[in-house]
């Protein structure tokens, strides 16, 4: 599970792709996302996935993005199965499953190369309200803390004789209660303490807080932006021209 989730978790890497302004990376990922939705033949999808994998190789994240694809492979099979059973035909079933994989890999390219810090800046730049951005930041920030919390509570309860891996499904579900209750209590205490600490450090005192970092687009970012837009538009027009929708 942990191995698979690595396909969506940021890792600091130096590469020509990671050097891009995070907004440009978002744009490129969004272009692939849209093209994957538009693509009408399996070959188009194969080309798209090929391009995404080439970018992942440049971003030196081929392995991690591969994990994301492996992870979603199960769902892709499911999509294939459902479509096939519904009688949409083999070709369509394959197309839908492949399209799903293309969408996942384009999303994964963005998340693997973008730090939570950059996500925060993008959200601010897009004009999300400050409280929403901050809620997102703290949620991501506390994921590892809460995970650690949970594993410590599990160990503590195990040492008191609680057995998680035994019994029927219902019994196992019931076994989660002694973990969830302290976990929730901890989180409530934590959020109270966080609120005090935020308040003590002037949170909310101005509607427009400043930031230590700035996103600054250089000629390199603009070039990538223009080039990717041109290519994506061309690809989109090609698809539309040969396979008009409806």
């Amino acid at each position: 599970m942990y191995w698979l989730s690595g396909g969506f978790v940021f890792k600091r890497v130096v590469s020509p792709f990671n050097r891009l302004d995070p907004r440009v990376r978002l744009l490129i990922a969004a272009e692939f996302f849209l093209l994957s939705l538009m693509a009408q033949t399996i070959w188009q999808i194969v080309l798209l996935v090929g391009a995404i994998l080439a970018i992942s190789a440049v971003a030196r994240s081929l392995r991690r993005i591969g994990r994301a694809v492996a992870f979603s492979g199960v769902f892709a099979l499911f999509i294939f199965g459902v479509n096939f059973v519904l009688g949409l035909g083999l070709l369509h079933a394959i197309l839908y499953a492949a399209r799903f994989l293309a969408i996942i890999s384009s999303t994964s390219v963005f998340f693997v190369t973008t730090s939570p810090d950059e996500l925060e800046q993008i959200m601010k730049w897009m004009g999300f309200p400050r409280d929403v951005v901050f809620a997102f930041v703290t949620a991501v920030r506390f994921i590892p803390v809460v995970m650690l919390d949970a594993s410590q509570i599990m160990d503590a309860q195990k040492s008191r004789g609680l057995e998680f891996e035994k019994g029927s499904l219902l019994k196992r579900a019931k076994n989660l209660v002694p973990i969830l209750v302290p976990l929730v209590v901890n989180s409530v205490v934590r959020s109270g303490e966080l609120a005090e600490a935020m308040e003590s450090r002037a949170y909310g005192s101005t509607p427009r807080p400043t930031s230590l970092y700035a996103m600054r687009a250089t000629w390199y970012d603009w070039a990538a932006c223009v080039l990717s837009l041109a290519l994506a538009t061309a690809a989109g027009l090609y698809i539309y021209h040969h396979f008009p929708f409806g």
Binding site: S115, P116, D117, E120, F134, V137, T138, V140, R141, P144, V145, R190, E193, L194, A195, E196, A197, M198, E199, S200, R201, A202, Y203, G204, S205, T206, R208, P209, T210, S211, L212, Y213, A214
Partner: protein, 288 residues
């Protein structure tokens, strides 16, 4: 030794005048009729049994009470000329910093330097100035080399130093610490105590510190205040308060050195003063 002598001549930085506070859902007041003056540059230790109102008093000094916690509030608290109850938290936060017990729950951002900048961002400090102040605070607290680390990649001591850097970056005149070392191992706790001493000497920051491990902080404290049941019961130079016969009945952990001093005195061996470190004790015995 002279650095530790408290006393007259200090300008008052914070004053608590006949303060009482009761939380809305509790029957009795958590702080009762407390009066306390803290001088500029002083290090004041606050001790007393659990539930005696120490944290509540601290919240009253930095403004969490009455701005965040509402309740029955009587009396007056003034810090740096500002009346706490009538000053917005944002202004107060530039004058009074607050370091809490659990470092985990006061680090919000994904990297050390971003977190140190948190308060400054909220105050809309321009970027260049922010950079300078963040770098300066990180250097003072010895976390410059951790600037881009994520919080989950830090030890508890490093987290506590990061949180303190975030407080110091706001350049407060008074810093309040609520059991800052109780979750740290003894060696790391000692490091944090030494940092507090340095910030006090080099930047002249005033400190009010709640701490159970008194032996750690008595060497750098000018004053020791003891509370019980919401009231202030003892207040004076640490040496004096620790030799007071009542002090242990208030649940104060008298450091072994002080206890030795008191029992020596009981046996008729009077040292000139209550020592706070083994070195001082050795010196005094030598001088006898």
């Amino acid at each position: 030794m002279s650095a530790r002598t408290s006393g007259p001549g200090r300008k008052t930085l914070a004053s608590v005048e006949r303060l009482s506070f009761r939380y809305p859902d509790s029957a009795r007041a958590a702080v009762r009729d407390v009066t306390l003056e803290v001088g500029e540059g002083e290090v004041v230790l606050l001790a007393g049994p659990s539930g005696c109102g120490k944290s509540t008093l601290l919240r009253c000094i930095n403004g969490l009470i009455p701005h965040m916690y509402h309740g029955e509030y009587q009396g007056r608290v003034v810090v740096g000329g500002l009346e706490v109850a009538k000053t917005p938290m944002s202004t107060l936060s530039e004058n009074v910093g607050f370091l809490f017990q659990n470092p985990e729950n006061q680090i919000f951002m994904f990297s050390v330097e971003r977190d140190v900048a948190f308060g400054l961002q909220n105050l809309s400090v321009p970027r260049e100035e922010m950079r300078t102040r963040v770098d300066e605070a990180m250097r003072l607290l010895g976390v410059s080399n951790l600037a881009t680390r994520a919080p989950h990649e830090l030890s508890d001591g490093q987290k506590q130093r990061t949180a303190l850097a975030g407080v110091v970056a706001m350049r407060p005149r008074l810093v309040i610490l609520d059991e800052p070392t109780s979750l740290l191992d003894p060696k790391t706790a000692l490091e944090v105590a030494e940092l507090i001493g340095r910030l006090n000497r080099e930047l002249g920051i005033t400190f009010i510190i709640v701490e159970h491990r008194l032996e750690l902080l008595v060497p750098l404290a000018h004053r020791l205040v003891v509370m019980e049941g919401g009231s202030k019961v003892l207040d004076g130079a640490p040496e004096e308060v620790l030799s007071d016969p009542r002090v242990e009945s208030y649940g104060v952990n008298v450091p072994p050195i002080s206890r030795l001093y008191t029992s020596l005195a009981r046996d008729g061996i009077r040292l000139p003063r209550n020592p706070s470190t083994p070195e001082e004790l050795a010196q005094e015995i030598n001088d006898l």
